[in-house]
């Protein structure tokens, strides 16, 4: 038996320490062979990881301060100015030359790379805001004297997080709705489809404008409202997959075994529908980012003062004399969306069954298998 087990283990690869099936292995291989998408994923992951820790990259507080033998972590905890020998009981402003001197005389501070966060107003600009790029502000400042690099880092993070949240939640809702409609079909499907047709006719932009006049929209409000409509993108593909699978023999076989409907949906059909869903996800993600940017640009998005790419764009329009705003926003948004598209294309290729894959395919042998029989490679679809 030992030999046989080895045999089984060898036929399956590993990924991140997990055992994976050969289908997955083949897909990973295919994803990697799309060089553009593969590198896009890495670049995106690096950018995302950096911005995820935005507070450590761009902040107006040092993340470590050493003062008279004590260690302070201003990013995590607010210290009054008096803690460093100042006069006020309010939180210390570490950028204040006085406070900085107090600390530096009795210890030291470690600053993030960018010494501003997305809300920090730079009072000491050499030129009136928006000021052009210089040594202190690499991409200049906006018309409220806030550092553009800092705003980009925070804006990128919130865009991507919003995109992920919207994509994942709408996928869950959309897949569930599509699964139920496709699997049961009939009247349920018919009514649900008509409902969706009416629902998708709702003017989402006006809804948001109305909403903006009633409440102050924040991250969660926007997410909720967009979710009301974005889940429908997934329903189509999942429903189609379930409608198709419903009549396949392996579903019938499961029914003949006495498996319940819920189990059939989860164990047998859903894994097949996930291919279409996962393929759609990067594109939905890019779409969500675009929508948020658009709303921010129109001023009905995130609350005033939040860092967002759309807001930088809006400022660029208002300050045509400051081209660095427009150029920066354009290149950041274009790069981010291109990266997401390239990743999406690579994922689509990886899941495309019509692509010619390398790897183990059905063996030619037809008779009983003995332990020694190895699957012989053959070509699928021809021969």
């Amino acid at each position: 038996m030992g030999k046989i087990e080895n045999n089984a283990a060898r036929s399956r690869g590993t990924f991140l320490g997990m055992k994976i099936s050969s289908i997955t292995e083949r897909r990973l291989h295919n994803f990697r062979s799309n060089k553009r998408g593969y590198w896009s994923l890495w670049i995106f992951l690096v950018l995302f990881t950096i911005t995820l820790f935005a507070e450590f990259v761009a902040n107006d507080k040092p993340f470590l301060a050493y003062y008279k033998g004590d260690v302070y972590m201003p990013i995590f905890q607010a210290y009054p100015e008096t803690a460093f020998g100042g006069e006020f009981l309010t939180e210390a402003d570490y950028r204040d030359p006085l406070v900085a001197r107090l600390i530096n005389d009795n210890g030291w501070m470690i600053w993030p790379i960018v010494r501003y966060n997305h809300r920090t107003v730079a009072w000491d600009l050499p030129a009136p805001a928006p000021s052009p790029p210089d040594n202190e502000h690499w991409l200049g400042t906006d018309d409220q004297a806030r550092d553009v690099v800092a705003r980009l880092i925070y804006g990128f993070r919130i865009s991507v997080l919003f995109g992920f949240a919207l994509t994942i939640v709408s996928a869950v809702v959309g897949v569930t709705a599509g699964a139920v409609q496709g699997y049961f079909g009939g009247w349920l499907d018919l009514l649900f489809q008509r409902f969706m047709e009416i629902w998708s006719g709702m003017p989402i932009l006006y809804l948001l404008i109305i909403l903006a006049s009633i409440v102050e929209p924040n991250f969660w409000w926007l997410l909720g409202v967009l979710l009301l409509f974005s889940w429908m993108g997934f329903v189509g593909v999942v429903r189609a997959e379930f409608l198709r699978a419903r009549n396949l023999d392996f579903i019938r076989a499961a029914r003949a075994l006495g498996v319940s409907d819920t189990m059939i949906m989860f164990r047998h059909v859903l894994p097949n529908a996930m291919v279409a869903t996962i393929t759609l996800m990067p594109f939905t993600l890019a779409g969500s980012v675009t929508i948020l940017t658009g709303f921010d640009f129109l001023g009905i998005g995130l609350p005033p003062g939040s860092a967002s790419l759309g807001e930088v764009l809006a400022q660029a329009i208002a300050n045509l004399q400051a081209p660095w705003l427009g150029l920066t926003a354009f290149f950041v948004i274009a790069t981010m969306l291109s990266l997401l598209m390239f990743i999406g294309e690579a994922v689509r290729d990886a899941f495309d069954p019509r692509k010619l894959f390398a790897g183990a395919l059905p063996p030619e042998d037809t008779g009983p298998v003995s332990a020694s029989t190895k699957p012989e490679p053959a070509t699928e679809g021809v021969g």
Partner: protein
């Protein structure tokens, strides 16, 4: 001697994929003279279709590549690596091809007239009217009935046989010198197969064209070809005239292929064994709805008043062509399809039982489907597939015991127990069918519906699966309802045979009687088509 029409020499085809090169065809050489029929025979994966596609250079280049030295000469002109313009002039004009599956080879959105006209207009530059006249002529040539009306039909409105005739008409539109027929009758019923083969034979004689006939079915070869090349694993293992190959096969593979037909008869069982499944007057009617209000205007009577009794250890064979309702009958008996009439399993009335109260009985009635590729969930490992029934019915105390049962089930169908960790796509058709059988058998059923379990398989594999099924039946005293369109397999399995047509029983008698002395004209037509490939004219069968 006529000029050699096609010379294939040292043909090799490789599929180059990252990290893996598959040699699909190795060093294949053959010639086709004018007006001659040459057959390429082999099982699936033997490279015969790839060889045929190479002739027209229709392979997915550059993934596919010809090995150096490969040569395909048509009328002396080299086709390997030829210019696209040269190839276009040859394809469809001097060499045409008909494919296995007519439904997917015809454009579903074009009417018949347009499909055929297109060929004529592209290659011959005919005007619309001239093309139409020629199309009619062609449809007449392939003996499609009512060609005038058929011109306006879409492919889905035609039967399988009619579609294949349209395909042939398209292929003949430009009077090709060589017709490549890639398994042209595999997807159609036996009676249609006989008709199509006769048509092809007749057309060939009349038009004097050569044919390259690709098939896995040896009886078709014997009927059609003058010379045969047997292919195995990408190489030609034996070549010769039909007589040489069939009378004195030299290569062991050819001998094996010839001996591969399912043989023998039903497993002996006491004639008075207790009945396991009894059904009276089963009806499955599908409503036909029309109008805005979807009122039911009529019914498709898929199964119309059929009674059947299957005894323990016995096999009832159900024969019929596609659309005769035989699969629906099988599903109805297992209560997987709504039906009327009484169904008794093991003395218990199961018609009308709810899905839930039926579940314990599901264990004892199982089904094996035709398509071993579709009936196994592609995302579950073999162990999970086979073991699913165990957890549904709460069999086996713990994981270890279930694992042991899965191992036993795999051993019973002669698969290595180690295969339980693999996924279905890693297996061949025959192996998958064994997995499907193991899935049914692990529950120790008493009644099994076998819905064309051998139809999607190669001939030699069919025989193995039939042997396996008989062995399991003898060991476990299983009652089988064996559904098939293949009379050879039915003869090897059944105690009784029921011939179905349009949802009704044409003839239902013990197997030996029905095979020795078929009474109904339809049964006789089926037998002639199946055993002698003779088409029976008019009346008994449809076209």
């Amino acid at each position: 001697m006529a000029e050699t029409l096609l010379q294939v020499a040292r043909l090799g085809v490789e599929f180059r994929q990252p990290g893996n090169t598959v040699r699909a065809v190795k060093n294949v050489s053959f010639d086709i003279e004018q007006g001659e029929t040459v057959a390429l025979v082999g099982e699936s994966g033997s490279g015969k279709s790839v060889t045929a596609l190479s002739v027209l250079q229709l392979l997915p280049y550059p993934v596919a590549a010809h090995t150096p030295g490969s040569s395909i000469r048509f009328r002396g002109r080299e086709l390997v690596g030829a210019d696209e313009n040269v190839l276009r002039a040859v394809r469809g004009d001097q060499v045409s091809m008909i494919f296995q599956e007519p439904m997917i080879s015809l454009n579903p959105l074009h009417i018949v007239e347009k499909q055929i006209n297109e060929v004529l207009m592209v290659h011959k530059g005919l005007s619309r009217n001239a093309a139409r006249a020629r199309t009619l002529e062609l449809l007449d040539l392939v003996r499609l009935r009512d060609p005038e009306q058929r011109l306006k039909s879409y492919p889905h409105q035609l039967s399988g046989g009619q579609r294949q005739r349209v395909m042939i008409a398209m292929a003949l539109a430009n009077e090709p010198d060589l017709l490549i027929a890639d398994e042209p009758t595999t997807a159609v019923d036996v009676t249609i197969q006989a008709q199509i083969l006769e048509l092809l034979n007749d057309l060939q004689a009349r038009l004097g064209m050569a044919m390259l006939f690709i098939t896995h079915d040896l009886s078709v070869v014997r009927k059609m070809a003058s010379r045969v090349h047997v292919m195995h694993a990408g190489s030609v293992v034996e070549s010769g005239s039909v007589n040489e190959i069939f009378e004195r096969p030299q290569h062991p593979y050819t001998q094996r292929l010839l001996a591969a037909e399912p043989k023998g008869g039903a497993v002996a069982a006491p004639p008075d064994a207790p009945p396991v499944m009894t059904a009276q007057d089963i009806k499955v009617w599908f409503p036909v709805k029309a109008g805005v209000l979807r009122r039911t205007v009529g019914h498709v009577k898929a199964v119309n008043g059929i009674s059947v009794k299957v005894r323990q250890g016995h096999t009832v064979g159900v024969v019929g062509e596609s659309g005769s309702g035989k699969t629906t009958l099988g599903l109805a008996l297992l209560r997987l399809e709504k039906s009327k009439g009484s169904i008794e399993f093991d003395g218990r009335v199961i018609q009308g039982l709810s899905w839930k109260s039926l579940r314990p009985l599901r264990r004892e009635m199982q089904i094996v489907f035709q398509d071993p590729f579709g009936s196994l969930s592609p995302r579950m490992s073999v162990g999970q597939i086979i073991g699913e029934g165990l957890s549904v019915h709460g069999l086996g105390k713990d994981e270890a015991e279930r694992e042991q049962m899965i191992i036993e089930a795999l051993e019973e169908v002669y698969l290595d127990p180690d295969t339980r960790h693999r996924y279905p796509h890693e297996f061949s058709g025959g192996q998958r069918q064994r997995i499907a059988i193991a899935r049914a058998m692990i529950l120790k059923p008493r009644f099994v519906v076998l819905d064309e379990p051998t139809s999607a398989l190669d001939m030699s594999v069919q025989a193995q699966i039939v042997d396996l099924l008989r062995e399991l039946q003898a060991r476990h005293k299983l009652a089988y309802l064996f559904i098939s369109h293949d009379l050879k397999v039915i003869r090897a399995m059944s105690d009784e045979v029921m011939v179905m047509r349009d949802g009704q029983v044409v003839e239902h008698r013990p197997a030996d009687e029905i095979f020795d002395n078929p009474r109904a004209p339809y049964t006789r037509a089926l037998m002639a088509a199946a055993f002698d490939l003779e088409a029976v004219e008019e009346g008994a069968v449809r076209t």
